[in-house]
């Protein structure tokens, strides 16, 4: 009989292996799902996992998805390390795109303005917008002890409704035949792209953010304080590390990064404000952060896997007639699989002959 017994020490090997196992398990579940609807599992998995990385165009499209996922998940990794569950990154992303869009629409008079400084200003505006939305969460948590999970989540719905209100109203393109979207931004306000693809500057910003976060965590005292505060709150208090400062710092930083991600989306692949600026990047980034072991470099790899899921979902829709919702199922299963595999960090399987030989206080 197979049973789980505690390990004497947490396994370092398993903590590295668990995300890999989780991806393999998810792929296996995917194969079962393809088979269940009468498609060839092998063909399905090939479309999902191999076809996107088979061409230069595929790689560049993955990069387009990696940019927002990585930007958001780096911030979330810092938050979750400090035990601050900022679940509303999607809302912070949306608000970042609103503020960046407002700045662009204000300066873009269609006469070919823009340029590097304008782009920098718009990105900064996005960061401020996202940080502001996260600051509400931090303030309500700090001042009134309101649960950050629920507050940040409620603010997602508020942000999405606000965006819908604006693109139906004051930000709507007057010459757009009444469609709820802003006018297309002038070229001078769009992020530079890799020639011939849609891959934009955002992915460079995301990699830089991941590197800076690693420096913060591994080489700076502030990062150390943050980690201790998350792992051992009492020890952190005894050492005099301010938990309030960690709360504000983490939320403002992750909000700003999500806001930049939102700004990059509208200044990159979308090119205007629309009622929906993100296919759930803010929520997918939660999974990315966990699968990347809350490590600023680990999330680079996990955001690549998650981007693969997005592209694979689109491809399996066009190639095999699968519904696009399959991406969401893969995302959910991935996190479940990871949490199940993580159990093996602290426990191990033991094969025992002759079941029920010992008396146990509680059930199986």
């Amino acid at each position: 009989m197979l049973e789980l017994v505690p390990r004497a020490q947490p396994s370092r090997l398993m903590s590295w292996l668990s995300p890999v196992l989780a991806v393999i398990l998810t792929a296996a579940c995917g194969a079962v799902m393809f088979a269940a609807v009468g498609k060839s599992p092998l063909e399905g998995l090939a479309v999902f996992f191999l076809e996107p990385i088979g061409s230069l165009r595929g790689w560049s499209e993955i990069g387009v998805k990696v940019a927002p996922l990585l930007l958001v998940s780096v911030g979330l990794a810092l938050c979750f390390r400090a035990n601050i569950f900022n679940i509303g990154a999607e809302g912070q992303l949306v608000l970042g795109s609103i503020v960046a869009g407002a700045v662009i629409l204000h300066f873009d008079d269609g006469s070919g303005g823009g340029g590097p400084w304008m782009i920098a200003l718009a990105l900064l505006a996005g960061a401020v917008g996202g940080a502001f939305w996260a600051a509400i969460v931090a303030w309500l948590r700090d001042r009134y002890n309101a649960n950050e999970i629920l507050v940040s989540l409620m603010l997602v719905y508020v942000a999405e409704l606000l965006l819908s209100y604006l693109v139906h109203g004051v930000m709507r393109d007057p010459d757009g035949f009444g469609f709820p979207q802003s006018r297309l931004f002038d070229d001078g306000f769009l992020l530079p792209v890799w020639p011939g693809t849609r891959l934009h500057l955002g992915v460079v910003l995301a990699l830089a953010a991941s590197l800076l976060a690693w420096v913060l965590l591994a080489r700076m005292f502030a990062g150390f304080r943050l980690t201790v505060g998350g792992l051992a709150p009492l020890a952190a208090r005894y050492a005099g590390f301010s938990s309030r400062r960690a709360l504000w710092g983490c939320l403002l930083l992750s909000g700003a990064l999500a806001g930049v991600a939102g700004a990059c989306e509208i200044m990159g692949p979308i090119g205007q404000l629309t009622p929906s600026v993100s296919p759930g990047y803010g929520f997918a980034a939660i999974i990315v952060a966990f699968v990347g072991r809350l490590h600023p470099v680990g999330v680079v790899f996990s955001s690549f896997v998650m981007a693969l899921f997005y592209i694979g979902g689109e491809l399996s829709q066009t190639r095999m007639g699968m519904p696009n919702a399959i991406t969401g199922i893969f995302q959910g299963i991935l996190l479940f699989a990871l949490l199940a595999c993580d159990v093996l960090i602290h426990k191990r399987f033991r094969w025992r002959l002759g079941a029920a030989s010992t008396v146990r206080a509680d059930g199986p």
Binding site: L150, M154, A361
Partner: protein, 305 residues
């Protein structure tokens, strides 16, 4: 006065899914487990309940399927958290994220499908002027939720089993020392909570809307999570809170219909802003929450260590 009756009726209707879900979560939390997957369970149950009803033509079967789906997902959650000791917050989030995708997948063929709507009424009482249309012409599940609320109040505070459940939530070590099977009790509480969330989801797609639209639960699972601390973990106060939030939702619809010059999107923000306001008001006093909250909420318990 005549305009008020449909308003009350609609508020009760809108409050019912919140009440069903919040009562289920209350039982979870009384046993010391917090399941953030309520939104996901409601979504899956809404999609599956609707699909089953379209095929079978029987809403009762649809409700049953919804409850079963909710309980099944809660079972997965229970296995991960109660048996394997995984983090409750992370697992709940996983369940919610999974539910968004899974429900979209299940519901895809049923977008635009319709089911037969039927009218209900309690014979005799429904003819009373004002009170009839306000209170006595509801779907049976609306009364079912009220009965459930009363039953849970009795169960928690007037029966031995309820006392054991609360003991498991306050101090699993003590309950374990007395010989109670902490993990099985938590599993039972989670399955019950999942089934309640399932009923709530099925109510959304079978009675409240009635149709399937992607993401139609629209945060009600999360609002239900905010209702349990709002109600200081007491069933009667869950009822008040759920109807209050139902009322706020309905009020936004009516303000639009009455032509109040505020954009519909801004009005739709009200329930979410109200939730934040409520959270702020109840959380302000930390002692108040600490006294009422089950002491072991969110903490896993391993009887073998």
């Amino acid at each position: 006065m005549d305009a008020l009756a449909p308003l009350i009726a609609a508020s009760m209707n809108a409050g019912t899914p919140l009440m069903l879900a919040a009562l289920g979560l209350l039982i979870n939390e009384k046993a010391g487990v917090i399941n953030l997957g309520s939104e996901g369970m409601m979504l899956v149950a809404a999609a599956l309940g609707f699909a089953v009803t379209v095929h079978s033509g029987s809403p009762a079967t649809g409700f049953l399927a919804g409850a079963a789906a909710g309980a099944l997902l809660a079972g997965v959650f229970a296995w991960l958290t109660v048996w394997l000791g995984a983090n409750q917050v992370a697992c709940g989030l996983a369940l919610s994220l999974f539910g968004v995708g899974a429900s979209a997948y299940i519901g895809m063929p049923y977008v635009g499908a319709t089911i037969q709507a039927s009218s209900w009424g309690i014979p005799g009482l429904e003819r009373i002027p004002f009170l009839g249309p306000a209170l006595f012409q509801h779907h049976p599940m609306v009364y079912g939720a009220l009965v459930l609320c009363a039953a849970l109040g009795h169960f928690l505070y007037r029966t031995r089993a309820g006392l054991v459940l609360r003991a498991v939530g306050e101090s699993p070590e003590s309950a374990h020392a007395l010989g109670y099977k902490v993990r099985r009790i938590r599993l039972a509480a989670l399955l019950f909570g999942g089934a309640c969330c399932g009923l709530a989801g099925a109510f959304m797609s079978l009675v409240y809307t009635p149709m399937w639209v992607e993401g139609m639960v629209a945060g009600r699972g999360w609002i239900a999570l905010a209702l349990t601390p709002f109600a200081t973990w007491r069933p009667a106060r869950v009822l008040a809170g759920a109807y209050l939030f139902g009322g706020i939702t309905i009020l936004t619809f009516h303000m639009q219909a009455l032509g109040v010059p505020i954009a519909s999107q801004l009005l739709s923000m009200l329930p979410y802003l109200a939730t934040i306001l409520v959270l702020v008001l109840i959380s302000r006093n930390i002692d108040w929450i600490r006294i009422n909250m089950p002491a072991s909420l969110g903490k896993n318990f391993n009887p073998n260590s």
